[in-house]
Each structure stands twice: as structure tokens, then as C-alpha cells.
Symmetry: D2
Subunit: 304 residues, 4 copies
């Protein structure tokens, strides 16, 4: 059985006014997640705003995370950059800094075929002795990891799992069916508003960004699903869906990406988890009016 | 008047078998382009496979290019990475290493609004004292630099020019019209199969990838346009269109990106300009059968 | 409470060699679905290849369907054409011919805004006294019925329900939540490989194309969900997912649309439900090799 | 040589308050175009809002157009509907009503492969003895007529020409090159803001929607190109580009389609060519403020 499973939030990266990482807040985020019962943490993913960080900062973030987590839960680390050899370099750093697994997307900026994606993962696996998790996120890389690509990589041992943030839950289900006999493979969904569904389908893990705000809710949802109480799972998910509406509060004024992660940060600041809601350039932070609307949602969903 | 104009090819980056840069071949490429009459060179762009190169290699490429070019023509340098502060870091390096201007895309991997794109360029301009050229390449970054965005950046002095690889030639024409009174702004097209059209519209420069294979052709086309001989410009462009068909030879077996630049490299090797046609991972080089078909096209268009 | 609910298959339209409707087979399809326990039928939808039929044929299909169904289950009728007034004309015919409700998409061919979509539905509702169901099918009409559009139309009484074939199950969930207090509104999903999920979320109905092949399976799935036996619902859905793989057998040789509905027809012919697997022009029917592969899937899923 | 060539505007369809065709205005539009020197007219295309009209109205429009045109210029007729047999029915009507050629898109609403598109055109050609023109308009039908598809259909005699409204001017150039030896084939562009370019490339005709407002401008542009005066062609095109900006005046408040054709109608009403600027449902007409801005553009470009 895989040691990876359960609620594995993608960890928000709090910043200081000068755009450096606010490690005091960052530590509190990790403790908040682990205290909340999360089964793992995923740092340097899209929610962590990984592509805004240079190599040196990424290394510090991993090292800091490894020190704080200290083996209490598995540490997954995103190694996100456009091409194979740059991902290999990040993967070596991540391994050295304490990652339990690295999370790898398809190449981006370049237009890539499924065949090249297969080679991409194989080259990385050959170059670094660290478990790989495939990260399917077409909204960022603009290519889908097709069902056959994921299944091939899993069956041949190139990857140990999948984080599916494609929103294509039917395709995710087929990956679950195709790999049902491979107990060592773990398949996680990023579709955070239908986690009850994913667990009913047999998903091994979930990667909800908004668990940064409310880890306890997702852990309750996970626990309800484990004991087969699907009505309770649904109720918890529905409350979390209402919470998730914070991501649309600033949409239109700022981009969808800035609105979503900006909302996570604004909510975490209102809840006292982090000290500032600073966003990396060129993203703008949410304003006071937007933050007030987010606070209202936090109150309506029982968090504030 | 801008010092930038004319035929400014995006320079192919030849590689050794171990994927390091083959600088001997690289020097020959630059000499081939300058000897061919090109009015500038653009290194570390998409055709240069910039996102496959790490920071150290990029710096070496710029330094090597600056040494070879040695002021004979302007040196434009792509500073392509996903986010603002990483682009600023590349820009500082490029300036120090001898760039006459840096070429900047919209952010990528992250989803970005036009307002964030404006800020992105302004933050870079504020941070580095080097002329900026906006690079519109939605096929790679998945967002278009809208007409109003480009015009605003140009009029306020944030950018000195545009490289338009969007294929939206109507939009490019409106940028030309909107900026007709700004003599210091130069607008270049990457639509390399309709360069005669772009010049008829008043484009100040062209950035044809296939000029790596045949710089003389594009210089003849440029010269014909300058003297108003549009029939000759069209004839030259039509021959170059037939040459351009090399980019589709391997398409399907490999991705479009690998097929296109792989074809440039294969042709340049056949013509003796570079020593190998190696592609960076995970891209595969063209095979013998494909290379033979490319050679046939080179013969049909008078190059071999 | 709405009289519409449960398993409501989109009915396949069997054809003769001369492309006229094979009404003998068509009658058998309807009886097969009603005998299988389906709670309604939806004729002249995308699966019925509605846009291949002219006005006269559509009228005959509705009249024939109404005669066969004879009030045993509700009869929903697609009124699919590009623009408002043409849909109004179809709706009047459908009402006169016995439809219990008509199913209406956004305009297509023309590019349409959400505001125009609101007006489209309102004009139709004003013009015809027949219940309207909104049909969200961006793969065909290339615009999504946004959450706010559906909720507005439902709350103001313009539509009585939704058939969601968008694949955006998160958005569907929000529609369920937003309309939870409106007992008279019924929301159906077309995501036929995650029907267990949709029912767990509270969907009122499902519209699975492949129920033409296996209505009993979807009715068992529906019944399991009604009694809260989610493990049984999942098992049945997983078997149906394996059956659903018939839709990809011919993909590549023919278009996705022809491969999917062609597979339904080939399977129904193999099962003796219809006499031919003819496809309307320019679609090609599946060939013998493909049909053999479909038969193998039918055997593996217990149908043949 | 083809009898089709030159400026062939897609004819706007003026409406009465009750959405019937305002034939008095319609007659004036046709006379305005023919008096303006246009070389043909194209009725029942996208600019004519063809998909808003039912079969009976379409037949009347064709008959009325044939009577007014009376052989002075060729009459091209759009036969736009989703599928093959419905297009055949329209084509028979169009031929009987006096069409010199019919203009046929790929199927729409259904998802269609290039192979099915080939068959679609061939079935139509076999069924009706009227010349076919292929109409490439992916913004409406959501599939591109690929270069090879067009060239195959032209070389085998299935189509006599192309109206390219895809905006892919590079692809259009390759069609021109591939068919350069086929004198009987005529290739027209719908890229109305780069008509000088298309003519420099060798296009045989142009189909500018805004020629409804200013046919004389496009005829002057055509004439300049015929005598090789490309500087004059460019100047005329640039003025027409400034005129074309009317299509964006209402964009945002209404959809792009409604904004564009609504602007044509508003301008034609201001110029006294038509009596009303009514739009078919669900499109809204432009308002007074928008019409005032359009009038200002008409003045600035010398028309009012």
C-alpha cells in the first residue's frame, strides 16, 4: 500500500511586504494543516505560487518545510518548470532537501505531444532517485495528461501516483478503474468541490486548496467517506462548497488565479493563520471591500 | 528613429550530443545571418528553445552572442520565464552580458489578465535599465497581448517595440495604425509566410525562424519592399513559403514545436551551417527519412 | 414536486438504408426503454441526431413517440435549431404533437452572450405554452450556460429544469445548491459515467445515452441510490463505465460524434433492438471489425 | 477563367419592426452595392444573419435578390444549416430561385472530422447541379477547413471556390499557391481589414461585410490593386480599417456578432440606405449612444 493518501493540501506561501517568504507565517500554516489532521502536505504547487519563486527560494522553502514537518506526514514537493532538464535540477534539490516525492507537470511554454510527455517523465525518473507524482493541470500547462499516458507511466513504474487538477472527473474515474489492481499507485483529485464524489469513486487522496483555510472540514469529509457515511460526506462538502465561493469575490477586478489564491490568503489572514495577504508580482492582493465579503462567507460557513 | 529594424532572425541554438550548446556551430549561425545581411539577431527566443536552458547556459549564450556579434548589428535577447521577478533577474543578466534590448512575454503557467500584463511590463521596466520589446506569443503563453495593452505600453514608454507572433495580422495592423506617429517605436512580425504583407502594412521589422536556413531570401524580400517592388517581394515570399513547408515534415510523429525547430536544424545541418540536429529533451530529433524529405525541399527551393 | 425525474434516456433514432426513420425499430427502442424501467424519454436530442432531421421528419418522430409512449412516462422533446424564432416554431410543433416539455439549447452558429441567452429562453417561453428545459451542451453550441444564467431562468419560472451535458460537474453542484429550495425545478445530468456522483450530489435525473443499450443498468443504479446503497450504485456505474468504452472503438477513423452514436447503434443492432446501424450523412456507420470489438465489450459487461 | 471575382459583399438583411424582411430597404442595399461597382453579391451568409431565417423566408430572399440583381452581377447564396441533407434541400431551393452558386460550410452543432467534411461536400455536389463554394468560418462552425481539404475538393471539381473567413491568412496563401494552376478556381478572403494583403497574395475576390456601408472604398482598393498601385491600395485599406472600428462600439454590452452586424445596420441607417437597424431575436439593436459614436466614425472616415 502507498504511504501517500488522504487530505494533502497544496500549501499557500505567505509573503512579507518585500515579497520574501514570511517563514513565521509559513510555519503556522504547516502546523495548522498537520494539527487539522491532514495526511500529507504538498508544497511548491500552483497554490503555492511556485513559478513566482526562484531556485534559491524554492530550496529554502523545501528545507524549511522538511524541518517543520519533521516526518509527521509525507512531504510532496512540486518541481515545476517548463522543460525536462530544468525539472531534473529541481528534483535533485528537492530530494536533497527532504522531499518524500516530487510532483511533475507536463512541459509548458513549449507545445508538447503525449509521446514527449511520456519521455519527459521517463528522463526525470532515470535521472533522480525520488518517487514521481504526475500532475495533470491543463489550465496551467495547456495539455492534458491523457488516460493512457497516466496508466502507462503508472504501470511501468515511472510514477507512483497522480494529482488530477484537470476537472475531468470521468477521465479520473477511468484511471482509477484501469489501475485498480495496482495497490502501490495512489490517485489524488484536485477537484475540491466534489471530493465526496471522488472518494465514492475510490480516490486515494484529495488536494484541496481551500483546506488551507479549513483543513478540519476536509478531514471530517475524508473520515465520513472512510466509514461509508456518504450523507455526512455530502453535507460537509456542501458547506465547503459555500466556503469555496470566496475564490470568485475578486474575479474580474483581478485574474482568476490572483482572485483564488488571494482569497485563500485573505481568509487565512482574517483567521489569524498568516500575517499578511501579500501576492507576488504582478498579482495584486485583494482589497478591503473584497476582504469584508470574504469575512462574511467565513462567518456563514462557521469559521469566523 | 529606432535603431532596430529589418530582418531580425530568432537564432537557432545548436546542441552537442550531451545537450550542451555547440558554440562552434552557434558562431557559424550568427556569422551566416550577419553575412546574409540580417539587420539584427534575436537570441534566446522560442526558436532558440530558450525555456530548455538554465540560467547559467543562458548567460553564456548571451555573452557568446555579444562577443561574436560585436556591435555589427543589434542584439535582442529573450528573457523568458513565467513571472515578473524571474524575468527581472534574467533581464539584469542580459543587460550585463551585452543585450541591446530584452524581449519579454506575458507571464505564463499562471493565468493572467491584461491589467496584470501591464503591471508585469512596468515592474520590469522600473527594475532594469534596458529597452524592453513586448513579445506576443499566445501559442506559448496562452494569452494575447491585446491591441490596447501594446499601445498603452508603447505610448507611455514602457516598451520600445513589439514582436508579434500571434498570427493575428489584423490586430498587428491596428497597432501599426495606432502608433503611426511614434517614430521611435518599432513593430516586428513573426508571421514569416506573409512578410510581404506585413511590410506592405508598414511593419518595421520581421522575425522569421526560417531565416536561419535562408537569410538571403528574407533580406532580398526586405530590400524589394523598401524599393516598393511588391511583385518581387511576393515572388521571394512565395519561394520562402515553399521552403517553410519543411516544418510540417515530421509533424504527427513529433509535436509541432519539435517538428518545426527540428526541421530548421536538419536543414541547417544539410547546408553545412551546423554540425548536428540534436534537440533538447524531451524533444526528439528528425529521422533520416524526414531529413531526406527536407533535403528535397531545400533542392526545390534552390538552396541545396 | 416535478413530474420529471429518474432515468430519462436520449432516444437513438434508427434509420433505414435510404436514411428515413425506421419506425419499427424506433418503436422497439421506446418499448425497450420503458420496459427497462426508465422514468421518461428524451427524443430529438443530440443522441437522436436531431440536427440531421428536417422539420417534417421531426414532427413525425414526435407524433410517433407520443403514440408509442402514450402517457406511460413523460415525453421530453428537443427543439434544436440555431436561433430563437426557429426554436419557437419547433416548440409549437412539439407541443401540438404531444411533448410534455421541450428541451432548448443556447443559440448556435451565431456567437451569443449570456444576456442574449437569457432573452432567448424568455422569448421562447413567452411564445409557447409548454414547459422549457434548458440544455447545456457547450461541445455542440460552443457556449456554456453559466450558473447564474440557469439559476435566474429557473427562479423566474422561465425553465422548469436543466439537462447538463457540459461535463462541469462542479458547476452542476452549485446549481443544485442554489436551487435547493425550489422543489418544482428538476436538474438532470448528462455525465453518464459519473451518475452515482450526480445522484449523491442530489441530481433529480440522469440522461445517459448508453441507456439505449442498457436501460436496466441505469435503473438499478438509480434504485440503489434512492435507497442509499452507494456501494451498489458505484459497482453498477463501474460496469456501465466499462460498457461505455464502446464509444471510443471507432474514434480516429470517424469523428467522435459518429463513433459514439455509431457505437450505440451497432450495440443495439447486436442486441436485436434495432435492425440496422445506419448513420445519417455525412457520418459513416461502424465497420465489421469495430462491431466485433463492440460485441466483445457487450459480452464482457454481461449484455451479450 | 472564373466568372466570379472582385468585391463580393455579404449582403445585410434589413428587418421590419415585426422581424420580417424589409424588402424596400433590401432592394436599396442591393442597388447601393451594384451602383458602388461591386462585382457580385453574397446573400444569406453570416452577415445576412442567415441562421435566423426559416426556409420560407430564405426562399423569398433569394427570389427577391435574383429579381433585383437581374444578372447584372453573379448571385452567390449561402445554404447554411447543420447537416448534409438539410443543406441539399436549401441548395435545391437556391438553384431554383436563381443562385449562380451556393456557399456551403462544414456541418455544425455536430462535431465533424475532415474526412466527414469531404464527404459532406461531395454528397451535396452529387445531389444538386449548382456550383459549390466552400465557406471556411470556424468562428461559427468550430472546425477549420484544412488546406488539404480545400485543395482536394477544388482539384477534384467538387467546389469551384472558397470564401475564407478563418482569419488564417497564411493558410489561405498556401491554398492560393497549391491551386495556382487551376484558373477556374476562385479564392476569396473574408479578412476585410487586410484586403490589400490578400490581393497582393493573388486572391481572386474579397467578401467584406463593411462594404455594405462603403462599397466604393473596397472597389477603389480592388482597382488600385489591379493596376499594381499598392501604396494607394494600402491607403484605402487603412481608411476602411478606421471605418471598421464601428464593429467594436457596442461590444461588451451585446455579443460580438450583434455588435458587428448591428453596427453595419446602424451605419447604413445613418447613411439613409436602410430604414431601420432592427436585429433578429435574441440580438438587441444598438442604442442611441452607440449610434452616435458610429456616426462620429462615419464622419471621420468621410462617409457622413
Amino acid at each position: 500500500m502507498s504511504k501517500f493518501k488522504g487530505v494533502v493540501p497544496p500549501v499557500v506561501t505567505p509573503l512579507n511586504d518585500d515579497f520574501t517568504v514570511d517563514y513565521a507565517s509559513y510555519t503556522r500554516v504547516l502546523e495548522h494543516l498537520i494539527d487539522g489532521g491532514c495526511h500529507g502536505v504538498f508544497v511548491l504547487g500552483s497554490t503555492s505560487e511556485v513559478v513566482f519563486h526562484d531556485e534559491k527560494t524554492r530550496r529554502e522553502i523545501i528545507e524549511h518545510s522538511a524541518k517543520v514537518v519533521n516526518g509527521r506526514v509525507p512531504l510532496l514537493v512540486g518541481v515545476i518548470d517548463p522543460t525536462t532538464d530544468r525539472v531534473i535540477a529541481h528534483s535533485k534539490i528537492a530530494k536533497a532537501a527532504g522531499a518524500d516525492a516530487v510532483v511533475v507537470t507536463a512541459p509548458f511554454y513549449t507545445v508538447t505531444s503525449q509521446s514527449e510527455i511520456l519521455d519527459h517523465f521517463r528522463y526525470i525518473r532515470d535521472a533522480v532517485d525520488v518517487p514521481l507524482v504526475a500532475y495533470d493541470i491543463p489550465v496551467c500547462v495547456h495539455v492534458k495528461l491523457q488516460r493512457q499516458t497516466v496508466v502507462t507511466l503508472a504501470k511501468e513504474g515511472t510514477v507512483i501516483g497522480l494529482k488530477d487538477s484537470s476537472g475531468d472527473d470521468g477521465n479520473f474515474r477511468y484511471a482509477l478503474l484501469d489501475l485498480a489492481d495496482h495497490e502501490d499507485i495512489f490517485l489524488m483529485t484536485g477537484s475540491e468541490i466534489v471530493v465526496d464524489n471522488a472518494l465514492l469513486m475510490g480516490a486515494h487522496g484529495v488536494v484541496p486548496g481551500i483546506a488551507n483555510v479549513d483543513p478540519h472540514g476536509y478531514v471530517r469529509l475524508w473520515d465520513a467517506a472512510q466509514r461509508g457515511d456518504w450523507a455526512a460526506a455530502r453535507r460537509e462538502q456542501e458547506r465547503l462548497c459555500r466556503l469555496f465561493e470566496i475564490v470568485w469575490v475578486a474575479q474580474g477586478r483581478v485574474s482568476g488565479g490572483a482572485a483564488g489564491i488571494g482569497a485563500f490568503k485573505a481568509a487565512m489572514k482574517s483567521l489569524g493563520i498568516i500575517d499578511t495577504a501579500i501576492m507576488p508580482r504582478p498579482r495584486a492582493a485583494l482589497n478591503a471591500e473584497e476582504t469584508a465579503r470574504i469575512d462574511a462567507i467565513l462567518k456563514n460557513t462557521g469559521l469566523l
